[in-house]
């Protein structure tokens, strides 16, 4: 399998008044064609910044180094003109809040037409409009020909996200980056959107990077998963392996702290003590050590790198000793 997206040694630093903030500190990720890669992590773990860097969407001033390759072509340092050709065509992105991602003063259909014609100027207006209606039908908007003339405020949150997905797949991308696509939606609408993403993947053969803080959302859709903490990938592997045999204490803590519907006991949940570290003052050694129940003295000094450990890759000095954990 050839990867469609290969991120290697990606680092992103933002200059701030209080000093440089290293938001992404050496991330390696691989997205295979037609696969779904879940990226899990909490606020500030660097998951969104990694993807924005991939698409060259970071604000000016951000320092990006490392490599991002789309089908072997280097994207870091690529001219903005060239990047623009790629964005929305080969690589598309959908965001957390569909309502603010759409232009409020243009009809939905018009916005899709615009997306098509930017990348395919040879496509006529009429043809693009017809295609926009087809796309709205594809994403399950009822009466698409009529609704294409509606404005975003006439759409519900779930329908806006459907429209965003229609726009994203308009130019048949190879890669779709979905950043918390269901976080702003209700549970039953979330189920609809996840189902739609599943269909789109089947039908269009698009590879998806699914960013989420919700382990359940990733479990249902992803083939592989990467867990991020303080700007690093601390664990990655196939979803099955990571969810059942996690080796990194952070992943294990995260999995244990999620209440399960099937869990009928009325007892305390496991929780991870403390809070995420400030990216301005990262602890030395392993960034997770102040919260880690298994930390030993050398964890404060030696920074563990990601390495293969029994079916997964984990960045922990004691991954072997921790042993596999039986999933609940």
């Amino acid at each position: 399998m050839t990867p469609v997206l290969e991120i290697a040694g990606l680092e992103v630093t933002f200059p701030t008044q209080e000093g440089p903030v290293a938001a992404v500190r050496g991330v390696d990720l691989t997205l295979e064609a037609r696969k779904v890669l879940g990226v899990v992590g909490e606020s500030g773990s660097g998951k969104t910044v990694t993807m924005l860097a991939t698409l060259g969407l970071l604000p000016a001033g951000a320092e990006v180094s490392g490599s991002v390759k789309y089908r072997g072509r280097e994207l870091v340092g690529l001219a903005p003109r060239e990047l623009r050709k790629l964005r929305g065509a080969a690589v598309a992105m959908i965001f957390q809040d569909p309502k603010t991602s759409l232009n409020p003063v243009q009809p939905i259909g018009h916005q899709i037409v615009e997306g098509i014609r930017i990348h395919h100027p040879d496509v006529g207006r009429k043809e693009a409009a017809k295609r926009a209606v087809e796309l709205l039908a594809l994403v399950g908007i009822p009466q698409p020909d009529r609704r294409a003339r509606d404005y975003p405020h006439q759409f519900s949150g779930g329908m806006c996200q459907r429209a965003m997905i229609a726009m994203a797949v308009a130019n048949d991308p190879d890669v779709l980056i979905a950043d918390e696509p269901t976080t702003a939606l209700d549970v039953t609408i979330q189920a609809q959107i996840l189902d739609l993403l599943r269909d789109i993947r089947e039908e269009k053969g698009v590879a998806i990077v699914l960013i989420s803080h919700d382990l359940g959302v990733v479990a249902g859709l992803a083939d592989d998963v990467a867990v991020m903490y303080a700007g690093r990938v601390v664990e990655k592997g196939s979803v099955d392996a990571v969810y059942t045999q996690a080796r990194h204490p952070y992943t294990r803590g995260l999995l244990a702290s999620v209440p399960r519907l099937t869990d009928t006991r009325h007892g305390p949940l496991q929780s991870i003590g403390g809070g995420a570290p400030s990216l301005l003052h990262l602890p030395g050694g392993c960034a997770f050590h102040p919260r880690c129940p298994h930390a030993r003295p050398n964890c404060q000094v030696d920074d563990p790198r990601l390495r293969p450990v029994a079916g997964v890759e984990a960045a922990c000095h004691y991954a072997e000793e921790l042993g596999p954990v039986a999933s609940k």
Partner: protein
């Protein structure tokens, strides 16, 4: 034993503009005939999606806005008709924790001052208030030496603990918590849930816990109320509702919850509800859920189903209520042979 809080037939309509001088003003039917009871030291979980009226219910119960009709008796005093003075006395016993710990604390006040505020208002600060604030901080597992710090120096989880300490300052008998953990990171949520459970055990305080996350509701509640578009569609003891969900909406809600188990997630059948929640400006006739329900028949458009026990052991507001055992167990691979979901016409199952 009389319940601590007894809510009966609570109704709240909001005028929604329209028409000159509001003559043709339409009504938003936010809460329509909600009833429930909360016993001392007990947790009632209210679950539902946006616009189902759960937050409005909370505000009404707290006496923060007038109700259109209905009663909310807190220890035999109706919060909704109480005179301001009586209401003020009640507020000592009835407190709330807001959803957003970033917006609910005054950024210019030290957390100590925030926690002390209710004590000052009720004239309790002079006598040992300082110690009480430190005691409260310890109670919610914060360092009492941080009383002089400002909210921005705390993380989201710590701020929510400050909110809880402030709510507990007057030793209330009932705490209304509106989505208290939904703005927190996953690893932080667990700590706050544990703290709340622990506090209930130690202080005997009752909770009305509002959330959209069913697994959290299951973990913390003794009794559960499921709301849809201003109505209670199903209620009962926690395990009755979760083990024998009998309203199609409850079943769909349980089925839509993703679980952190990839094998079970891939294998399970999901109930996908079509469309969106209808507008509360113009709710459907009869059963409000019928427009998205796979069981809907002609009667559902005409006759509103009452919230009564139809043989499921707990009240369900559906003409065709039928216990679907272990819908919630679908996510459990060990119980995968169990799913016995209604597969009537029109129900889109996803593989």
């Amino acid at each position: 034993m009389t319940p601590l809080l007894a809510v009966e037939d609570l109704v709240k309509h909001f005028p929604a503009g329209g028409g000159l001088f509001g003559r043709h003003a339409r009504q938003v039917h936010a809460v329509c005939g909600v009833s429930f009871e909360v016993g001392r030291g007990e947790t009632l979980g209210i679950v539902g999606e946006s616009g189902c009226g759960k937050s409005t219910t909370a505000r009404l119960v707290l006496g923060l806005m007038p109700a259109t009709s209905g009663t909310a008796r807190f220890d035999d005093v109706d919060v909704l008709t109480a005179k301001p003075k009586a209401l003020r006395a009640l507020r000592r016993r009835l407190q709330m924790v807001a959803q957003d710990p970033y917006a609910s604390l005054d950024p210019q006040m030290t957390v100590g001052a925030s926690i002390a505020e209710p004590l000052r208002i009720h004239g309790l600060y002079r006598k040992g208030g300082k110690d009480r604030v430190r005691e409260l901080m310890t109670l919610v597992e914060l360092d009492p030496d941080h009383v002089t710090r400002y909210p921005h120096q705390f993380s989201g989880g710590q701020r929510q603990r400050v909110g809880i300490a402030r709510a507990l300052a007057l030793q209330p008998e009932l705490l209304v918590l509106d989505e208290p953990i939904s703005s927190l990171d996953v690893s932080i949520q667990a700590g706050v849930i544990n703290l709340l459970a622990d506090l209930q055990e130690r202080l005997g305080v009752a909770y009305v816990f509002i959330a959209h996350d069913l697994s959290v509701i299951r973990l913390i509640s003794h009794k559960v109320v499921v709301m849809y578009l201003g109505k209670v569609v199903e209620s009962g003891l926690r395990d009755d509702v979760f083990d024998r969900p009998s309203h199609p909406y409850t079943q769909a809600l349980l089925s839509a919850m993703p679980s952190a188990n990839p094998v079970a997630e891939r294998a399970r059948a999901r109930i996908l509800l079509p469309g969106d929640v209808p507008s509360p400006l113009d709710p459907p006739s009869g059963c409000r859920f019928r427009t998205r329900c796979w069981k809907a028949q002609d009667i559902c458009a005409v006759e509103e189903p009452a919230l009564v026990d139809r043989g499921q052991g707990h009240p369900v507001a559906c003409h065709f209520a039928e216990a679907a055992p272990q819908v919630s167990g679908l996510a459990d691979p060990a119980r995968q042979d169990a799913p016995d979901l209604p597969n009537a016409a029109g129900l889109p199952f996803a593989p």
